[in-house]
Symmetry: C2
Subunit: 258 residues, 2 copies
C-alpha cells in the first residue's frame, strides 16, 4: 500500500455483500487505500455487542474482481469487525473508519440500537475519525446514487478537518432524488423512543413465541433535530459521543446525600 494515501477501514451491519457497503466502498476508494472488514451475514440492531464467549472467523475474500480494496468477511458483530481489523488485520492504524451505508434510518434513538453506528463509535473509542452513513430506504433495490455526493463531501471534510476528540458522526440521508435534497444540517439527536408491540404466535408444536414490532414515536418538536432535518429534505449530521455521563445530573444526584 502507498503510505501517502489515507488508509480507510470500511464496515457495516447489513453484511459484506449488501448494496449499501458496495456504494460506500466505491466512494472510499477514490480517497485512499481501502480495507473492508464486514460481517459475513446481516447483523442489524446488534448495538455495541461483541463476541466474548464464542470464536470469530475471518476470511479474506474477493467480491469485486479487479477492485483495489482488500476485503475480509467476519463471523462477528460489527464492533468485532472493527476490533479485529485494527488489532489483527491492518498493519497500521487507519486514518478513517466508514460504516454503512446502512439500509434504513439510524437517526434519533436508533443510534443506540444500530450496529452500523456502534462500529463507527468503536473506532472512535481508539481515536480513529469515524463516520456512520445511513439511507432512509430499507429496500435492497435502494438507489444509493444521490447519497454518494454527500458521502464524498463528508469524507473530504473529515479528512481535511479531522474530528473533535471523543466524537464520531452519524450521517442520515433522506430517500429523495438528488435534486430534491436541500443540503446538509448539523443537528442534535431528536428525543424519541420506540413504542413496541409484540406479535404473539403459536408454533406448530404448540409453543408460544413472539416477534418484536414497534412504532417510532418522536416527542421532539425542535427544528434543530435530525428528525426535522430529514423530514424537511436535508441530510442530517449528528456529532455523537461515547462519554455517556449526564454531566448536568451530577449535581442533582449529589443532593441525594448518599
Amino acid at each position: 500500500m502507498n503510505a501517502k494515501k489515507p488508509l480507510i477501514l470500511v464496515t457495516n451491519d447489513d453484511g459484506i455483500t449488501a448494496p449499501g457497503i458496495r456504494a460506500l466502498i466505491e466512494v472510499a476508494t477514490t480517497f485512499g487505500d481501502v480495507v473492508v472488514v464486514a460481517p459475513d451475514a446481516p447483523q442489524s440492531a446488534m448495538g455495541h455487542a461483541i463476541t466474548i464467549n464464542d470464536t470469530i472467523y475471518c476470511n479474506s475474500i474477493l467480491i469485486d474482481k479487479d477492485a483495489p480494496q482488500k476485503e475480509y468477511s467476519c463471523s462477528g458483530t460489527p464492533v468485532d469487525c472493527v476490533k479485529i481489523a485494527i488489532n489483527e488485520l491492518l498493519d497500521r492504524k487507519p486514518d478513517l473508519c466508514l460504516s454503512g451505508v446502512n439500509h434504513g434510518s439510524n437517526s434519533s434513538i436508533n443510534v443506540i440500537y444500530s450496529g452500523t453506528m456502534s462500529a463507527a463509535v468503536e473506532a472512535g473509542t481508539v481515536g480513529i475519525p469515524s463516520i456512520g452513513f445511513s439511507l432512509l430506504d430499507y429496500s435492497l433495490e435502494a438507489d444509493f446514487e444521490p447519497a454518494k455526493k454527500y458521502i464524498k463531501l463528508m469524507i473530504e471534510k473529515c479528512l481535511a478537518q479531522g474530528l473533535p476528540s471523543g466524537v464520531v458522526l452519524n450521517v442520515n440521508i433522506p430517500k429523495l432524488p438528488q435534486e430534491k435534497i436541500k443540503g446538509v444540517k448539523v443537528c442534535r439527536q431528536a428525543d424519541a423512543y420506540w413504542q413496541e408491540k409484540f406479535d404473539k404466535r403459536t408454533s406448530p408444536l404448540g409453543r408460544d413465541y413472539y416477534w418484536l414490532t414497534g412504532e417510532f414515536i418522536n416527542k421532539d418538536k425542535g427544528e434543530d433535530t435530525d428528525e426535522w432535518a430529514l423530514a424537511n429534505g436535508y441530510v442530517s449530521v449528528v456529532p455523537v459521543q461515547f462519554d455517556l455521563t449526564a454531566h448536568h445530573a451530577i449535581k442533582d444526584i449529589n443532593t441525594w446525600d448518599l
Copy 2:
C-alpha cells in the same frame, strides 16, 4: 398485586439463574412487587442488541419456591427482556427498573458494551427510573452481601427522589468487605478504552479462528471518575444519558461549511 406498592422490573445480562440477579431480587422484594424478566442464558457484552430477525420465547418459571416475585425467562437479549416486560407481560408501567447485579465491572467505557446497562438504558428511554448494578467480581462465588447495603440505599433514594428525565444510573461496587467500602461517589465516566489482542488458533479441521482478549487502558487521571472511586474503595454512581449528541461539537462541525 397491591397497587400501593411500587412495581419493580428486574433484569440482567448474566442470565436468570445468576447469583447476582438473585441478590438483587432479594433486596428489591423488600421495596415492592417484583417481576423478573431475564435472559434464559448468559448475554454478557450484548450491548443494546435487539432481536429483529428471529423469534423470542418467554416462559413463566419458578426458581425460588414460595418467593413473592413473578419470573419469566426469555430467549432474547437484555434489551428484549425489558421491551417484552413493559409491552407484553406487565399490566402497568413499572415504577422502577433494576438491572444486575452484574458479575464484573461496567465502569467507564464498559457501559457501552454492557447488556446490563443497556437494559437499564432501554427502560430509561420510555421514562422508567432505572439503575444498573455491577460488582467488580467475575466469580460465580462472588460475595454479594456487602453490595446489598448500597443496592438498598440506591433503591430507597431513587424511589423517594425520582431521576432527572433522560438519565439512568450506573452503579459499580468494589470487591471489598463491607467495612472496607468507604461510601458512595457520584462520578463521571472515566476516559478509557480497550486495547484488544486476538488469540489466533487453528481448528482440528485446519481453519483459523480467533478469540477476543483485551486490556483495559485508563487514560484518565481525574479524581472525579468512576475508575478513581472504585480504585479508592468507593461505590461509583455515574448518571448516564442516551442523548448521545456531542452538543459541544455542533459549533465545530458547523464551521465545515457543508
